[in-house]
Amino acid sequence: MSGAEERVYRAYWQDGTMDLFAGLIAGTIGIAWLLDLVWLGPIAPVLLVPFWVLLRRRVVEPRLGRVSFRPERTRRIRRGHLALLAVGLVALSAGLGLYLTARGAAPVEWTRRLVPALPAALLGLGCAVAALAFGLPRLGGYAVVFLLAGLWVAAADLDPGWALLGGGIATALAGVGLLARFVRAFPVLSPELD
């Protein structure tokens, strides 16, 4: 039965809205970082998540419908959310802390040069955990994108905000592509029994 359940579960997350908003959140954190308003970063999810809920309700649910998963799956989803939240918080505070403390104090030159990559690399770690927690391989792709973006800013000696912004834009664009495909593939359906 797990194969059929996996298929139904994955169908529920193929609309791209999660990717779009995750990208927007990462991008907003990046912009806040670039503007030296790092404290604004953690507020971004609080501001954007209600719009995600609204978009799902207005665009996704009339096409895909709504489903409650069985208790085992619900427990797995809850564990995934908690793991993601924990990794997200650790990544954000570790990224910020490491960046602020190590940018001028790294003992060896090459480690100092890698410091700007940390925030994006830690966000990539969050994506990798989410990929495992939710069983969605494309999130692993985003992990690679954030890691590469981090290495790019480290190599070019740029502000870490650029990596978050770049990775965020790439993730959001992937979400827009998925959403466009979803809207084309799924028409609005009748909500009630005839």
């Binding site: 139904v8 709504r66 409650s68 998963f69 799924f186 029994l193």
Partner: protein, 110 residues
């Protein structure tokens, strides 16, 4: 070509309500979730609203699914759930089909 030695009794005992592709796909979908709404079942089975309605009605008459109609933010919403009887019938159907397929495969391997 030799006829396969299928158990005629087993074939005859297949649940006629479930042994229909459209209804089987509805029940298979409901079997892996707790509850799904009418839109979700249409999107997953590819059936039209009218077609799905007639099959759901048949499943409801057989006592395999329960249908709950409600309004949410003044919009109609119909949600469906597999009953215990429906789940048990589906599991019996799967076991019978597995047995029949095993018998066919066993015969064709000889």
């Amino acid at each position: 070509m030799r006829a396969l030695p299928l158990d005629a009794k087993a074939v005859a005992s297949l649940d006629k309500v479930l042994h229909e592709p459209a209804r089987l796909s509805v029940v298979a979908c409901l079997a892996v979730v707790d509850e799904a709404d009418f839109v979700f079942l249409q999107s997953q089975t590819g059936m039209t609203g009218g077609n799905l309605s007639s099959h759901v009605r048949r499943l409801e008459e057989a006592g395999y699914v329960t249908v709950k109609k409600e309004f949410e933010n003044s919009r109609p919403r119909t949600s469906l759930r597999l009953t215990r009887r429906g789940r048990s019938a589906f599991e019996t159907y799967l076991a019978l089909m597995r047995g029949l397929l095993d018998a066919i495969e066993g015969e064709s391997d000889r």
